[in-house]
């Protein structure tokens, strides 16, 4: 059984923040990331998201190891494809059928930073919030207990599921099934076959585990109709200070946006 968790306990003041403060911070990053489409502003928001990860001393290698290829792939696709749709503005350079304008390029690069900021923020949040705090945080924002517990369980399930997929793939490979070889037609056929030989065994194993988990929960006396008693977390001065800084920075960037900075009208 693969055991994998995102939480990295470094004991910094970021780790000790109230779970609600962390949720609010994540939400403000999401709002700010989608507020600007000029690349310079999107880059600053990306750095703001990265600052949280640096302050919390979570290994950046782990953040970028998880997300780096994804972000790079996103950035490359965005830079190539947004200019294909946004053809308004001044032409920066032309190559064959591709015409890159200043608007298209800025929006494309900004997209890479936007998604990078959201991803760094989300991973930073998950790496600094333990599962107990996650449930407490969600409960504090009035998410019903069955959902907060279910989300926590899902975050534990996901790595197990990846492990199961890997194991089934290995099993199929050992039977000489490989969908990455042969002609295009053969690969398409193998891909369709992959659906059957991968999805069915994975579902089979996961559905059997649902009954086991339900049995475990029942045997521990879990009652989802009434939430269990939990410790009450209080806001301390660090929480209030962090929240104040978060609100000030968010208000500053929103004010910039309202004044017309950081946004290009997208011309198709």
């Amino acid at each position: 059984m693969s055991v994998y968790r995102l939480y990295v306990d470094k004991g910094t003041f970021i780790h000790r923040l109230h779970p609600i403060v962390k949720i609010v911070w994540l939400f403000t990053i999401v709002v700010l990331a989608w507020t600007f489409n000029r690349w310079e502003y999107a880059f600053v928001i990306f750095l703001w998201a990265l600052l949280y990860a640096i302050l919390s001393r979570v290994p950046l290698k782990k953040i970028f190891g998880t997300a780096f290829l994804f972000v790079i792939w996103t950035a490359i696709l965005s830079i190539i494809l947004w200019p294909a749709f946004l053809r308004g503005g001044n032409v920066v350079f032309e190559w064959n059928v591709f015409r890159f304008t200043d608007i298209g390029l800025s929006v494309g690069i900004a997209y890479g930073f936007r998604i990078g900021a959201c991803m760094v923020a989300a991973l930073g949040w998950l790496m600094t919030t333990s599962q107990r705090e996650l449930i407490e945080g969600l409960a504090d924002v009035r998410v019903p207990y069955q959902f907060s517990f279910g989300i926590m369980l899902a975050l534990r399930y996901a790595p197990l599921l990846l492990g199961e997929i890997g194991r089934v793939r290995e099993a199929q490979k050992s039977r000489a099934f490989n969908w990455n070889r042969g002609s295009v037609k053969r690969r398409i056929q193998a891909f369709a076959e992959n659906t059957r030989v991968l999805v069915v065994p994975v579902f089979n194993r996961m559905l059997s585990s649902v009954n086991q988990i339900a049995l475990c929960l029942d045997s521990k006396g879990c009652d989802f109709s009434k939430p269990p008693k939990r410790r009450k977390l209080r806001f301390n001065r660090f929480d209030k200070g962090f929240l104040a800084v978060t609100f000030c920075v968010t208000a500053f960037f929103l004010a910039l946006r309202i004044m017309g900075y950081g946004w290009i009208t997208m011309l198709a």
């Binding site: 999401v30 709002v31 989608w34 489409n37 972000v71 792939w73 996103t74 696709l77 965005s78 494809l81 749709f85 946004l86 032309e94 064959n96 059928v97 997209y111 936007r114 998604i115 990078g116 900021a117 959201c118 991803m119 760094v120 989300a122 069955q146 959902f147 517990f149 279910g150 989300i151 369980l153 899902a154 975050l155 399930y157 996901a158 197990l160 599921l161 990846l162 997929i165 659906t195 059957r196 999805v199 069915v200 579902f203 996961m206 559905l207 585990s209 649902v210 009954n211 988990i213 339900a214 049995l215 929960l217 029942d218 879990c222 989802f224 109709s225 946004w263 997208m266 011309l267 198709a268």
Partner: protein, 252 residues
């Protein structure tokens, strides 16, 4: 120097044809989104609209048992993993993708598991977007307008008989899925335009038409895969009708 028009001579005609229906589609789906969102709120509040035999709003309740919570967690986890690691080919990151396995999960989880699946469909969309960095403000309510409410729609229609062994089952699927795919493929784009994520000219129709083509193209995956998963779900007594205590009771 070759231009797009020389390379694909039918492209201008296609764009013009799509742009002529752009505004009606845009406003139709803007309104539809809020209607679906209102209906989702009604469902969350424990009421649903009954059409037959007499149109009225009825109350319902269901109890969250350990099996339902485990199913909800499983559905969310499967959806999140598939969203990020399988069946997702990005054409334009965050905007356009061929995500047939994700689309399939959003549809099949409610059909097989009922309420845990419906909630899982909405949750997986938000959770996966948070983890993989695609999260944006409209997504937070679109997940309920489309994944949650249309999940309920799929459950109410195809969920009655997802065996695909009867004519009724096939007719329910074809009728229900056409409506489902139409709203799922156009609805998100309209809200993205309002929030400035994509521009209305060209991109709204391109994105929506692109989505609907793939939604209908991959329709052939649904019946065989659903029939297999239905067999598995019934084997483990996890089909929504078999979860005890009966999770869905109307209050008389």
């Amino acid at each position: 120097m070759v231009s797009w028009e020389e390379l694909f001579p039918w492209l201008p005609w296609l764009y013009e044809s799509m742009e002529t229906v752009r505004d009606p589609m845009f406003y139709l789906h803007t309104v539809a989104c809020f209607i679906l969102l209102a209906l989702a709120v009604v469902l969350i509040a424990g009421r649903e609209i009954q059409i037959f035999p007499k149109p009225k709003v009825v109350r319902f309740h269901y109890k969250w048992t350990a099996r339902m919570v485990a199913l909800y967690a499983l559905g969310t986890a499967i959806g999140t993993v598939i969203y990020g690691f399988g069946g997702m080919f990005w054409i334009m990151p965050g905007i356009m993708s061929v995500a047939f396995f994700t689309w399939y999960m959003l549809w099949v989880l409610p059909v097989l598991f009922g309420w845990p699946g419906i909630w899982a469909a909405a949750t997986m969309e938000i959770l996966a977007a948070v983890i993989f960095g695609w999260v944006n403000v409209p997504l937070l309510y679109l997940a309920f307008a489309y994944d949650f409410f249309l999940g309920w729609w799929a459950w109410k229609t195809v969920g009655r008989d997802p065996s695909f062994r009867t004519v009724k089952s096939w007719l329910l699927f074809l009728g229900s899925y056409s409506v489902y795919a139409f709203f799922q493929s156009f609805g998100w784009g309209a809200q993205y335009v309002w929030w400035g994520i994509i521009p209305l000219p060209v991109m709204f129709m391109t994105r929506s038409a692109f989505n609907i083509i793939w939604y209908y193209f991959f329709i052939w995956i649904y019946p065989p895969l659903t029939a297999v998963l239905y067999t598995l779900a019934t084997r483990y007594r996890l089909f929504w009708k078999q979860i005890e205590p009966q999770p869905y009771t109307r209050v008389v």
